[in-house]
Subunit: 341 residues, 2 copies
DNA sequence: CTGAAAGCGCTTACAG
DNA sequence: CTGAAAGCGCTTACAG
């Protein structure tokens, strides 16, 4: 497995210093003369030295492991987050450990305990819905495990997080539709208990009213983020409000369902009706026409979250770290000027 | 992080034996008296002992790490494989490391080298398309890294693999459609260079001929496994062969595309036309009507693959391990008796 | 069948 | 600013 097992001692010998000094340089500790530091770095580079993670873990207090605890979420989303964390870890000699925590009740404690025992992570990234699982947060806090949440539903004073402004994003999409001349727009909302879904709904109606459109002309239907619920919601909506010229769904899957219903009713997209989603899922990209949607920089958000963990920034600050990321309005083929124009 | 850092020495003291004996028991080594073994096991259990992975790795020759090298494949598939490997690892104190290898050319060597240096895995699970990436296989073989491939396109004499009989699965689906009275069935095949796609096509036409149906009545169109290609293929097919009553696509995404085209043409599914897919993707389940498809036991296949790695079965045998898994025909709402019946 | 000694490759105190 | 010693918790030879 190891071709040339170069150790820290080899580097020390090569650089003409003690092992301890090499260790200092590698860990960016202070109190090393610059010339010494350079000599060590040069020696390490020449030898192609790579620190042994197991040895560092055993001797020290870090494991160089970052966990991603996730529940039952969109699988593409989970994988995207994994990729972002992985990128950050890879660059810093850390390793990503994805850990599904599907039992939200009793089982999660035993499972988490076993996970932490075989893999004592230096920190965890949390994604919804685990970002808002109070017993889990308490469990981690009790063990002093650093946490960064991605897009938590509720803001918690003590937990670092990265997020986008969901409401502003919904407003941007609504404005996009309005600027295309749409005046009667249906909205398909997500699950009631989903915080982001709430904010999206809020943003939609806020912009509708702000633009002087009539609220009654813009029906709302409730979905559950799944494709089928979007199809059903759109179908009912087109039945009761046949004059709507656009539908905005709170996620891509429901938008895809809405598209299906439009097709079934003989409507063309976007000629007869514009359809917009939210989340920039691969599904929305694969659709035909491709879905206009909102894109979160999931990768960059996940990278930022894990970098806080890796750099120890989290441990250093008193006030909880928090960073807002910009969303992106992806205008694709599923939205076009209103047929009423 | 550690609440009660119970060590092997603690267990030894409690059981009244030497640390070496505890080590023997934990590693299932021979030459331990049964009473001794039981005493050690009891002591370990009472103390809630968990071996320290870092220490075992540093002292021994195992890392307790299993890698999943994957390329650009269906993301749901990747995640399902991860889950299967994770389950097996979790039960045996191993850890899963997913490693995306997206650069199939020069870059993969450097990347893989860095990966193996920070994470010297005890073995890797390969999924398509990496299962058939010769330079990668050579690289791994040169370093004596145990490999298990899941559904490789080509069977390689020296590499262990798990798979399903793709051709038989296609035959089963074809027979399902024929038994519903369909006599004119279109087939949408996958990418030319995809081995499994070939086998599915082969199975389809073999069963068509075997059942006495006319080959000319069963058009074939080429897709690329993406939704849009299925939509285009189906659209052309319905143009040139308006009398077909069923479409069988070589994967779910293309079947979803075909469904879209059917809707756009005012056809009902399954009343006017039956549509079948392959792979049991979440997309196919979400569709409305839900897609009849072929399900591979991806989870079990991934578990089996990683267990070979974990148990060391791979190192012990001379002849390459190989196991065929049974597929499942999932009859859902998208297929029904032919309208010609 | 069992154990005492040495060592894996680092970091932690501690000393200077 | 730098280093010598001890130790992290296991497994590897080796001995008996």
């Amino acid at each position: 497995m190891h071709r040339t097992p170069i150790t820290l001692d080899d580097v020390a010998a090569r650089a003409g210093v003690s092992p301890k000094t090499v260790s200092r340089v590698l860990n960016n500790e202070p109190n090393v003369r610059n010339t010494t530091r350079d000599a060590v770095l040069a020696a390490a580079l020449e030898l192609g030295y790579r620190p042994n993670r197991a040895a560092r873990t055993l001797a020290g207090s870090r494991s160089f492991l970052i966990g991603h605890l996730h529940g039952r979420a969109d699988r593409d989303y989970i994988l995207s987050v994994n990729e972002g964390i992985h990128t950050a870890c890879f660059q810093h000699g850390y390793v990503l450990l994805p850990e599904p925590l599907l039992d939200y009740n009793e089982g999660f404690v035993r499972r988490l305990q076993q996970f932490l025992q075989t893999a004592p992570v230096d920190g965890v990234v949390l994604t919804p819905p685990l970002t808002d699982h109070d017993p889990l947060l308490a469990f981690l806090a009790a063990r002093n495990i650093p946490i960064v949440s991605i897009s938590p539903e509720k803001v918690r004073k003590s937990i670092a997080s990265v997020y986008i402004d969901e409401k502003e994003a919904a407003i941007a999409m609504t404005q996009h539709l309005i600027s295309l001349g749409h005046k009667k727009i249906g909205f398909i909302s997500g699950p009631k208990d989903h915080g982001a879904s709430h904010l999206r709904t809020e943003g939609f109606y806020e912009q509708i009213l702000k633009s002087g459109l009539k609220r009654e002309a813009c029906p709302q239907a409730q979905g559950d983020f799944k494709l089928k619920s979007g199809a059903i919601a759109a179908n009912e909506m087109l039945e009761t409000h046949p004059d709507i010229t656009a539908i905005f769904a709170a996620n891509d899957a429901m938008a895809a369902g809405a598209m299906t219903s439009a097709f079934k009713r003989g409507l063309s997209v976007p000629e007869d009706i514009s359809i917009a989603g939210f989340d920039a899922s691969p599904l929305g990209e694969a659709l035909w026409p491709a879905l206009t949607t909102i894109k979160q920089p999931v990768n960059r958000m996940a990278m930022a979250a894990s970098l806080w963990l890796i750099s120890g920034a989290l441990a250093r600050t008193e006030q909880p770290l928090r960073e807002r990321f910009d969303f992106e309005l992806l205008v694709r083929a599923s939205t076009a000027p209103s047929r009423e124009n």
